[in-house]
């Protein structure tokens, strides 16, 4: 898959633009917000699309439930809050009114994990993927690239079901020059034969940087963007593991229950091989900027490089 590298754009800008154009094209597209329009840059949508874009107030449980109710009547709701409140705060509603009810809702959780930065531990969802991965029928997406994000917004609107999409609001590098993605299919960003690095969200850029440094040491790392954490692309992960014989996962999430767990489950059942999970240990978040938190929680490219060498050693 072709890679470009540029400064990209703010994902919240992508979201506001895509919601605007989707709502113009289809009046059944609904945007519900739990009073974070200012933080998301979507404030104009409420006046431009009265009724279709609704700030329900600070009530995530009702927002998800009402979205599920209207979806059964043909509406296609996108609902947003910070990832913490879009998961923990409305988990039972997403489970029962959403999944169990056979509803059709896209839950957007912004600023996952350490990307919550100055909002700190209270606002730092490191467990949202674990929660939603256990819900039957829920699709879980972890995305931090503008082009892929645009695709995911458009594609989920075309599909019927329950989706959880976590994304950072701020500026992120663009590394795709394609729009040919598929939910459920991982993207091999860089081919390699020595070790597999399966990453998602903001950790994909760290994985790419790690692969470049490893190459200077003569190690060919295969980098896979597993943006669909559920249903996970078993075929792609297994094929890569068969080829490299060693796997590292990298995620901006607790190592319990997220991408690392999902990949470990696949490998343990199909291609047992040395593996290591790079992610946040079993602890809470805290305030700080992205660089500080990345160091603090071991989410840097150095952590990935170290893990890659460790699993390669264990191959022998």
């Amino acid at each position: 898959m072709a890679i470009i590298r540029n400064k990209g754009t703010e994902l919240r800008k992508v979201l506001a633009d895509e919601l605007r154009s989707m709502m113009e094209e289809n009046r059944n597209i609904i945007y519900m917000e739990a009073d974070l329009g200012g933080a998301l840059g979507t404030g104009d949508l409420f006046s431009d699309f009265p009724g279709q874009a609704v700030n329900v107030g600070i009530m995530e449980a009702n927002m998800v439930g009402a979205a599920a109710g209207m979806s059964v009547k043909g509406k296609i709701p996108f609902v947003h809050s910070f990832g913490t409140f879009a998961s923990r705060r409305c988990a039972d509603q997403a489970f029962l009114s959403g999944c169990y009810n056979g509803a059709n809702v896209r839950i957007l959780g912004s600023d996952p994990g350490i990307s919550a930065e100055a909002n700190g531990g209270t606002h730092m969802p490191l467990e949202d993927m674990a929660i939603y991965r256990a819900f039957p029928g829920m699709t879980v997406l972890d995305i931090a690239e503008p082009n892929l994000f645009r695709y995911a917004l458009r594609e989920t609107a075309k599909r019927y079901g329950m989706f959880y999409l976590r994304f950072p609001r701020k500026q992120r590098d663009a590394y795709y020059n394609t729009e040919s993605f598929e939910i459920g299919k991982a993207n091999v960003l860089r081919a390699g034969k020595d070790v597999t690095i399966a990453a998602s969200g903001i950790e994909v850029t760290e994985a790419l940087k790690a692969a470049e440094e490893l190459k200077r040491e003569g190690i060919e790392a295969e980098v896979i963007d597993v943006f669909t954490v559920k249903p996970i692309d078993e075929e792609c992960i297994c094929a890569s593991a068969v080829k490299t014989g060693a796997v590292v996962t990298a995620e901006n999430h607790n190592v319990i229950g997220g991408l690392g767990s999902a990949v470990a489950e696949v490998l343990a059942e199909h291609v047992p091989c040395p593996m290591k999970r790079v992610g946040v240990g079993d602890r809470f978040g805290e305030v700080g900027d992205l660089n500080y938190l990345s160091e603090q929680f071991g989410l840097t490219k150095e952590s990935i490089i170290q893990a890659a060498k460790e699993v390669m050693d264990r191959k022998n």
Partner: protein
């Protein structure tokens, strides 16, 4: 809309008999809160709601959300009697593979519009459905039945604020105020005070029905609710848990209890007497 009181009361008796039959076939179940809503269901399914048993998913139908999902047996009785599915299905309640699970499930049962079972959630589902109708300028109604114990759930009040702000006047909510929840009376556990006053304070149009097990009074309350064009209406039905069968009316706790064949025979006798007296 014509209202035939005698016919509706008879229908309520049949709902009671059928729901008890369903619960007796399993041996136990949610008796009290099913019996207390038999009358409102009888009214809704006697011409008030726009539904078609031959086409349960009819696009422009009125919706009914039983947020107190454990009253499933009452719904199933009403739906079976109306011909949404064969009455024999009632004997499969809560058995493996049944289309009639304890809590109402729209994916399993014809005539169930939204799935419930975690208290409070039906309120938001109903508000969302009513909101979609309003956006699309449809003129159908969404009916919602809440338990009084269910009002302990914060989500109910979130949904009420939303419904009031969005002026969902075609959302008509019934509170089954039978005064009892699982572990005791609503007063003992977490006092609700004046339920109608609480909803009124949130901005709802409210109607209090003195005898919430009287079909005529329920019907008149619905007629009054339909005059409202701005606010969602909440009809507080002062009911009796276990209503219509003295054994359960007198029982301290009939939320979930056993129903033996003997109990069923006794209840049928009382209910048939009631029907003959109409």
């Amino acid at each position: 809309m014509n209202f035939d009181r005698i016919q509706t009361e008879r229908f309520a008796v049949e709902i009671r008999k059928s729901l008890l039959r369903a619960i007796a076939s399993k041996g136990s179940g949610h008796v009290g809160g099913s019996l207390s809503i038999a009358d409102v269901l009888a009214v809704l399914y006697s011409g008030v709601m726009k539904v078609d048993p031959a086409d349960p998913r009819m696009e422009d139908r009125d919706y009914l959300v039983i947020s107190k999902g454990h009253a499933g047996p009452a719904m199933y009785a009403a739906l079976a009697l109306k011909g949404f599915f064969p009455q024999e299905a009632l004997d499969t309640l809560n058995r493996g593979g049944t289309m009639l699970p304890s809590h109402t499930d729209r994916l399993k049962t014809p005539g169930i519009d939204l799935t419930t079972g975690s208290l409070g959630q039906g309120a938001s589902l109903a508000a969302g459905a009513a909101f979609a109708d309003k956006l699309d300028c449809r003129d159908n109604y969404t009916y919602l039945i809440l338990g009084d114990g269910e009002l302990n759930e914060g989500q109910v009040w979130e949904s009420v604020m939303f419904a009031v702000h969005q002026k969902l006047s075609r959302l008509i909510t019934f509170v089954d105020a039978n005064g009892k929840q699982l572990d005791g009376t609503t007063d003992e556990i977490c006092t609700l005070g004046d339920i109608a006053a609480k909803f009124a304070a949130f901005g709802c149009n409210t109607v209090a029905v003195e005898d919430g097990n009287d079909t005529e009074q329920i019907y008149q309350a619905i007629i009054s609710a339909k005059q409202e064009t701005q606010k969602p209406t909440v009809i507080v039905l002062h009911t009796v848990k276990g209503a219509g069968v003295s054994r359960y009316e007198k029982m301290k706790n009939c939320h979930s209890c056993g129903v033996t064949e003997e109990d069923l025979k006794e209840a049928y006798k009382e209910l048939d007497d009631r029907k003959r007296s109409l």
